[in-house]
């Protein structure tokens, strides 16, 4: 090999140390730079590198408002709603209305509604309420509320025909009157009881007026909202008063929304459950602490004994982006 001839003119006692020294110095320089110039290595050595993979955004329960409660289902059928219903029903175009034909139903506890936990009433997560505020004019054009309830009037109205029906949480009760199919979303009928839901007030409406009232549906709020996206909030236990009368749920969106938000306090899953969940995933929990009243900060080791630090959602135990990630 001709390469070996170098050692005929370059003394190995100089050439070899020079070669090895060059390799050593360059290698050291590269690794030193990595240690001092990059953040991930330091994080790794501190045990945070493998923590929570991707920050999962956990939908806060509270934001029910935003989250549509598509599924709101009316659970119970109410009793005798018929008499009244019909009248309204007739006109009521609202086909989709999830309305419950059954006369009074109790409000269907909309699960999704963040409000869920909260008594339906308060919850009255009428998200759409927001919609309500909106002029939603179109939707409820007809909704005429004779009802004394002034408020009702402003609201787009919901007419609940069903007699005695209890809340008709029909979510999407279509906007009955609302011609605008899109608009329709929510309808929450509230009865007096719903008072808390401040926003929602029931006002007796004349049957006639209640065109809006979806046929069977106990209540319908016209969701004038153009944005179809708006989801109806279910007004869980809204109760309809007497048959003949339709209640109007004057919903003021804003208030309702707030109510919902408040109804969603931070819940902390039991430490035992959290530890069990993590153990199931192969982690060994070393310590758990609450951070900012919003996360569980867990120090643990994975199946390989590597230290892991992770912020977890207090209610579900799923990884979330903690303050450090922000």
């Amino acid at each position: 090999m001709n390469n070996s001839k170098i050692w005929l003119v370059v003394n190995p006692s100089l050439g070899v140390p020079l070669l090895l020294g060059t390799v050593a110095v360059s290698s050291f320089a590269v690794h030193y730079a990595i240690v001092t110039q990059t953040p991930w290595l330091a994080d790794y050595y501190e045990g945070a590198a493998n923590a929570a993979p991707a920050p999962l955004v956990v939908a806060a329960p509270a934001p029910a408002a935003e989250a549509p409660a598509p599924e709101a289902v009316v659970t119970e059928a109410a009793v005798p709603a018929e008499p009244v219903a019909d009248a309204a029903a007739v006109e009521a175009p609202a086909v989709d209305a999830a309305a419950v034909e059954a006369p009074a139903a109790e409000a269907a506890p909309v699960e999704e509604v963040a409000a869920v936990e909260a008594p339906a009433v308060e919850a009255a997560p009428v998200e759409e309420a927001a919609a309500v505020e909106e002029p939603a004019a179109e939707p409820a054009p007809e909704a005429v509320v004779e009802a004394p309830a002034a408020e009702a009037a402003p609201v787009e109205e919901v007419a609940a025909e069903a007699p005695a029906a209890e809340a008709a949480p029909v979510e999407e009760v279509a906007a009955v009157e609302a011609p605008a199919p899109e608009a329709v979303e929510a309808a929450a009928a509230a009865e007096a009881p719903l008072a808390e839901a401040a926003p929602v007030e029931a006002a007796p409406v004349e049957a006639a007026a209640a065109e809006a009232a979806p046929a069977e549906a106990a209540v319908a709020e016209a969701a004038p909202v153009e944005a179809a996206p708006v989801e109806a909030a279910a007004a869980p236990e809204a109760v309809v008063e007497e048959a003949p009368v339709a209640e109007v749920a004057a919903v003021e969106a804003a208030p309702a929304a707030e109510a919902v938000v408040e109804a969603a306090p931070v819940t902390w899953m039991p430490l035992l459950d959290l530890a069990t969940q993590l153990n199931t995933l192969g982690y060994t929990v070393l310590s758990v602490s609450r951070v900012d009243d919003a996360y569980y900060l867990v120090n643990m080791t994975d199946a390989n004994g590597m230290p892991v630090v992770s912020y977890l959602d207090p209610a579900t135990g799923t990884p979330v982006a903690g303050p450090a990630a922000e």
């Binding site: 090999m1 070996s4 001839k5 005929l8 370059v10 003394n11 190995p12 990595i34 991930w40 590198a49």
Partner: protein, 51 residues
Amino acid sequence: MTDDPKKVWPTGLTMAEAEEVQTQLVLGTRVFGGIALLAHFLAAAATPWLG
């Protein structure tokens, strides 16, 4: 110029000796490279390096 294998060059080595030095250096480099390669694979797999 290298015709004479017995010739002692300025560095005090003959051609055969120079080849011996070269052979050992190449061997050492290969061993070093192999270890380094393994280390880098491990680093890539077990640390955040390279994402």
